[in-house]
Symmetry: D2
Amino acid sequence: MDGNNKPVVNLISKPENMLKTVYTACRTCYSADYPINIYNGADDEEKMLKLINRVISSGHYSTIEHIQVTFAISNVSRACTHQLVRHRHMSFSQKSQRYVKEKGQFDYIIPPTIEKNDELKSKYIDFMNKISQQYQEFVEAGIPAEDARFVLPNAAASSLVASLNLREMIHLANLRLCTRAQYEIRTMVKMMCDALVAEEPWLKPYLVPKCERYGFCDEDKSCGRMKTREQLGF
Amino acid sequence: MDGNNKPVVNLISKPENMLKTVYTACRTCYSADYPINIYNGADDEEKMLKLINRVISSGHYSTIEHIQVTFAISNVSRACTHQLVRHRHMSFSQKSQRYVKEKGQFDYIIPPTIEKNDELKSKYIDFMNKISQQYQEFVEAGIPAEDARFVLPNAAASSLVASLNLREMIHLANLRLCTRAQYEIRTMVKMMCDALVAEEPWLKPYLVPKCERYGFCDEDKSCGRMKTREQLGF
Amino acid sequence: MDGNNKPVVNLISKPENMLKTVYTACRTCYSADYPINIYNGADDEEKMLKLINRVISSGHYSTIEHIQVTFAISNVSRACTHQLVRHRHMSFSQKSQRYVKEKGQFDYIIPPTIEKNDELKSKYIDFMNKISQQYQEFVEAGIPAEDARFVLPNAAASSLVASLNLREMIHLANLRLCTRAQYEIRTMVKMMCDALVAEEPWLKPYLVPKCERYGFCDEDKSCGRMKTREQLGF
Amino acid sequence: MDGNNKPVVNLISKPENMLKTVYTACRTCYSADYPINIYNGADDEEKMLKLINRVISSGHYSTIEHIQVTFAISNVSRACTHQLVRHRHMSFSQKSQRYVKEKGQFDYIIPPTIEKNDELKSKYIDFMNKISQQYQEFVEAGIPAEDARFVLPNAAASSLVASLNLREMIHLANLRLCTRAQYEIRTMVKMMCDALVAEEPWLKPYLVPKCERYGFCDEDKSCGRMKTREQLGF
């Protein structure tokens, strides 16, 4: 187990000249100039940011698809990754339970509702040990890892490399920072947003729950943070 | 448990006039006629099939994207569905372990390598019971289903509705009927193919492992059924 | 020329049991039942519609991806189709100018701003004739159709077969029914929506400009129909 | 007119540490290590390349999706861009004929079959001038650019910013370097490949026509460079 029981998230790759590339894309649509000339002439950061913000605010997200970023993610449960890989505009390379045999106790995640209760936490840890023993017993009996893993729990920690463009990054934040999302994926996506904003602070206003972008909550069971469409009268 | 320990697969929806629609798409590319006229005039099934087969054989798969089919799938493990949902050109609606609380013993899948060994099978079933008891204990202690499920295993059975167009159907078959794919997803995809071929027999030659389409095996560890590119000398 | 100068749009294919399929997808997420049992038991149309409307209103659009519909479209300009094919979640089969040689005068579209002015309209028609003569001259000189077409105008009429799922259909309507969209694609998309609503009236409330869904206008240059976010104060 | 009548292609953006990122993705699938540790420990370029080549050769292309590259492209015809934007895994920002008014003679492309014939070339250039005059006449009469452009030809030059990941880059090369592709898109894609290979030479063996990857030609009308499946007997 990782000890701190939290996702490990690192931004490992992003394109060179992120701002210049997006600015060139925005201007290409409205300019008679060659994009390579727009690109080479782009040096006024304030002017670039002003245009980019205007374009994104108008919902013309295609211009930010030109930027893709890559995260290394570890210590998240298989419950969490089963949700994450449903984002079909993302690219994933995930640790395989078919090919990677667990040696000794497998890493796992403890949900906060269990962790804060000492008795339940103790039972949970004991049970993870039991699962590990059963897994090892099957492996030692000659069962291949891909079948022995049938006893491994949703709690089992996984690792992945995940890439997505800025349009999908905003979409991911809008959906998964919502308080209706599961705590673990919400935590992980928040860490992804923070890692990106640390290097590209201009993105901060867009990496928010959807209700902040829409001005209302469209969830069937609202958390109450923002009014629903019905409450707003449309 | 379902008893027969096999996926349950049903084709529940497909478009009306599948053949006429694909034929109209193929002909539209090469004709001065309005597609609605091509569609209304299409009645010679043999002629339609001949053209469609020629187009697909040439690798022009875009014409068969116009047909989408929908399957109802049950009694497959979460290990299997975690692989299936990686197909990003498919659409899924899957039973949620966050919202659907397991009552009594949860359904689960037994891998064949364990099932065929009476002693291991017995241990496996006992252990599934233990997991179920631990899950119920957490639920009764007030832990929400979305957190109690952290103890549930990869073996836990799931259900989903899955849709895909014929281009992706061929891609799915090419990848997952390969003997290198996991037995469970291979079984499930074979059942999907059989259910579709039962109604649309003309699709049979395309719903095969990739090696039969390519004429060679491109896997790093070949099963030997077909020669590798190296063995063929290119 | 087609004479009526308007798109020709026909809905040629949709899945059987559209409502039952979407209902089964919605219920599968929240039910312990097998989806095939949900499907077979679905017969109360009012109940199905109530659930589906609730799910779509909550923004859970993945459940309506299971339905794909196909349109035969003709008599639209290449200017229009160049915009349409930018919808990357759609499938297209379009009449090829490389392979289909124009014989005699090619069909073309007249924009309304020109059509309503007799003098300009007359010049426009004359010029389309000149383009046709130049095209034919190149063809007769042995230039292949794929190169002779370089003189053909954006006005040239095209035909295509286009398929999309209901999620993309709503997205297409939201974007292209906006008064900021070009008149021709707006007309064509309106006809697609009307053709679908004629058979599936429950979809009507969703096939609207984006401002009606959001409750505000997010365009940089608003038409004034709805207030902007700034005007609404968020 | 640009004078040299050829596409202008520049690679303007790619991620930092391309090789390390792909290597980390490949290893993450088969390793118990955290991906961030794999990434930080990666420094043996030869070893990285060996693994990457093995993975790509096995058809496991998902690992190279993590790398996206961006090109600035100019002086290509609208005939060419209408084909390019059909690649639905790419991102585009294209010069708009709705918003960018042509001032003076618009730029255009001359197909080689016309350019090599002095008489036809002269007629072609004269005709482009006539189109330009007709366009300007409509603009001066108050017709908006988005409607005046209906007379502009497929030959009209366009510019765009285009991004794609390496998996799609290989797919694009496989399809568009085929001699059956149109000369202009073949030329443009060759220039894109050359610009990328200049910086990342390890990609060269993959950026080839599909027949070189498959070992056979699957086109209905083969150019004869490689044998067809029928000729090879499968």
